[in-house]
Symmetry: C4
Subunit: 278 residues, 4 copies
């Protein structure tokens, strides 16, 4: 939707999702590094997190499609009439949401059924981002210079995230790759806000959409967003990590639900020895 | 051939081939996940499937070349006369078929002779798709906007399939990658139909080939085809899987031809234990 | 050099080199598949082949540079005078040869000194192809349509070969990848001839450099060259393989220089067992 | 900064950094190849080298930002006034430096804290190069032919380095990849000098920025820089290697700080045996 809110809402969702992924991946990484070598199965809490994540994706996609279709000036599920295609922009956005919904279904299925390979969730997410970028790519033709450029920069975050998450299908449990994916979501979210501020400024400032200096500034600004996204992911990861460490030190009872008490001492020892050696 | 049938025929073949690959890969995956760790060799039935697949590719390629050359307005195996090149379009299509024929030969050779590495069949298929995309890429120059765009979208499916199948050469037995390849074939097939409906509509509707809204709709429509292809592959995979599971439960005799009875109990136990642990 | 000979000479070299690589890789593959699992070191004869290959690359590069510089209308090692740059085309060709010379040096060093990693030879060759493609890429600007197109197609073979050989640095001893690299050299060689025939036809035929049908034919013709290159590599590989097998069956004495007699029986047995199982 | 010095200073830094990386990687490679198989932890001296490297990056980035902001005609930390954006060029350069600073911080953190994965340092460096290339890419629009081309060639070195270092995240301890990364830094450094000489020649020669022959020469010249960079990296690596070997032969006492004396003999034997076999 071509107004500030129409960019702020998806922006907020992507920001939120980026933070969610950061927290999840850090928790999983903590778990992996504190396990004895032989064990690889994640405790049930991570399954529950994945159900929540998948359910949320499906829910958000559903709401998104409904809103795009049935807002006052929406197409109301009509695609074509005598005058031609109806509100193709809204239909394109609905299509994007659809693939995030599919991603949610894939995540839930791969969590629920052991037979569905683990990578299916990632594959769905990567595909959803690819479709988003693919539609945006043809979105931006025939627009003023700055408008096209600012959307092109969005594609860097979208395709960067898609490629990174696709790679995770083959290179599992690489924390750098996982957090880079989260970072791309946060970058995308904050850039949606930036687009809103530039094209539909709530304070009423109008940008000259054809001035080259504006294009140069916006390019640089994208790098600043990237730096901030890196900082946010790093801070979140540190806070989550320290919290978990403190938590598991204060009351080890909580962890009992998460891992076998019998193997705990061994794992602690193994970890200590590793840190002595290195 | 520039009519509806000329797009429906290859479309049907690609659709069919996509389903064939889905079934084959799911059967192989079932086999792999039900084997004890030590054994890796596939039972002879898969060899027979590969012979059929390769033979079919060679046969279809041969028929395709013959039809392209000897239809009424075809070049009849003449390439050049005083007036210049004769029916280059038909020659290009023949070239595409040729490489699918080569792919069939490669598949049969790699199945027949142990010395030929297993990946040769995939390599041939990937190359055939690459050549198809390569020729289409130069096909679409100097055409009306919508015509060029709708063929460009086809290239996404073609090169996507080619890249995915090329990857399978190095990452073996990854079911997600394999089904993604099948999905790209189905997408290609259904998109061929879509091209036929848009450019040579059998119901006589004429699309405005230069209207931007049509381009936007077609782009979005491609994503819908992708969603449907994903759904078809998933449904087929589920149906095949459930059929095989039920089959092997009802009468285990069939399987005797497929695997060693002595190792069967062990493998069943191993599987059960794995599912208990996870 | 802008005449038929100037394209036939490098074409012949690339054809020859493609066949050489095919033979070498098939011999190495035969050796690997006939070795017991534990042993990995190649017999000294392969070292000698690499010395010859490297020496030949250096020699050919030296001759190439000399010819480009000191032909009658060459720059005679002068780069700049009052009138501007002298014969930049010849200088660019000399630069291409230089990198093939560097590739030869890299191959000899990596063969001679154990400390130099094995992949350095491949890296050098991949880089030489990259530089060739890189220079050709800027070569083709401002030329007639067909001239630019036919050189662009050459780039497909050049960059395809460069990428494939770069991959070999990381994925060692993959016979498909190795033969694909050889195939790209043969394709490049035969395409050089094709360029010579089209642009400087020895029979005096003049092609219309701006006609679109010619571009379409040339694109298709490139695919035919690829098919022929695949056929040539396959035939060569089969002939070499059969020769080696027959050779080692008739008189095993020759092999004694190539491998340890003590381990021979074991390896034969291991191979037989493998083929029984599979 | 648009003068000779503004290109010579970053050029010198990149040259220096390229040599530093070469020396570091060769030392690490020497260490790895002289270790018994079981041990993998690097001695403390390499940690110290990484601290120095990271500290240097942060320091250089800080100085760079300060200079760009507070030179006489700089923006003095003002970004916008009534007349529009202030000195965006300086702001863009500051942004590039910022990411090299972030890279330094990442390197120090990954060296200091065992919990931070080793690859984070490489990731930061790769990202810094990517951002540099990203900003340069939009830098070069709307410039004269030669100016745009000479900066585009810089991008080859920048993105080549970024991709190579990104690969190092996944393919660890590959000396060819590591030295290729160093080579790209040296190439970038020497090419900065070349840009300075061409666009702001200190001897006052003015190049015709629109002549096609100049573009052709500059393209070829880039390849010569690459050849020289390869030569420099190779020579440096050989000199460092020979020095280390001689050093460790003359007085083995120095090494005691670096490796366990008890395991030394074993490792020497293992190495000798390996070289006998191969």
């Amino acid at each position: 939707m071509a107004n500030f809110g129409g960019h702020a809402i998806p922006g907020s969702f992507f920001l939120l999702y980026g933070f969610w992924l950061t927290v999840k991946y850090v928790l999983q990484h903590y778990w992996r590094t504190n396990q004895p070598k032989g064990r690889q199965t994640l405790p049930p809490i991570f399954k529950r997190l994945d159900y929540i994540e998948g359910g949320f994706q499906i829910f958000a996609a559903f709401i998104g499609i409904m809103v795009e279709q049935f807002v006052v000036d929406g197409p109301h599920a009509h695609l074509y009439n005598d005058g031609g295609w109806i509100k193709l922009m809204n239909w394109q956005h609905s299509t994007m949401y659809l693939f995030f919904g599919i991603s949610g279904i894939a995540l839930i299925l791969s969590t629920k059924f052991q037979l569905v390979p683990r990578g299916v969730g990632r594959f769905g997410l990567s595909l959803a981002l690819f479709v988003e970028g693919f539609l945006f790519y043809y979105h931006v033709h025939n627009r003023p210079l700055l408008d096209a450029h600012i959307h092109t920069l969005l594609l860097v975050a979208v395709f960067g995230g898609s490629a990174s998450i696709m790679l995770e299908m083959f290179i599992r449990d690489n924390i750098i790759l996982e957090l880079f994916g989260s970072c791309m979501f946060i970058l995308q979210g904050s850039w949606f806000y930036q687009i809103g501020f530039v094209l539909y400024s709530p304070s009423g400032v109008e940008w000259n959409l054809t001035e080259h200096a504006n294009v140069m500034f916006v390019t640089m600004c994208f790098c600043w967003h990237l730096a901030v996204a890196l900082l946010l992911v790093t801070s979140t990861a540190v806070v989550v990590w320290l919290t978990v460490v403190q938590f598991s030190a204060r009351g080890r009872d909580i962890e009992i639900g998460m891992r076998n008490t019998s193997s705990e001492l061994t794992s602690q020892k193994a970890l200590l020895q590793e840190s002595d050696e290195e």
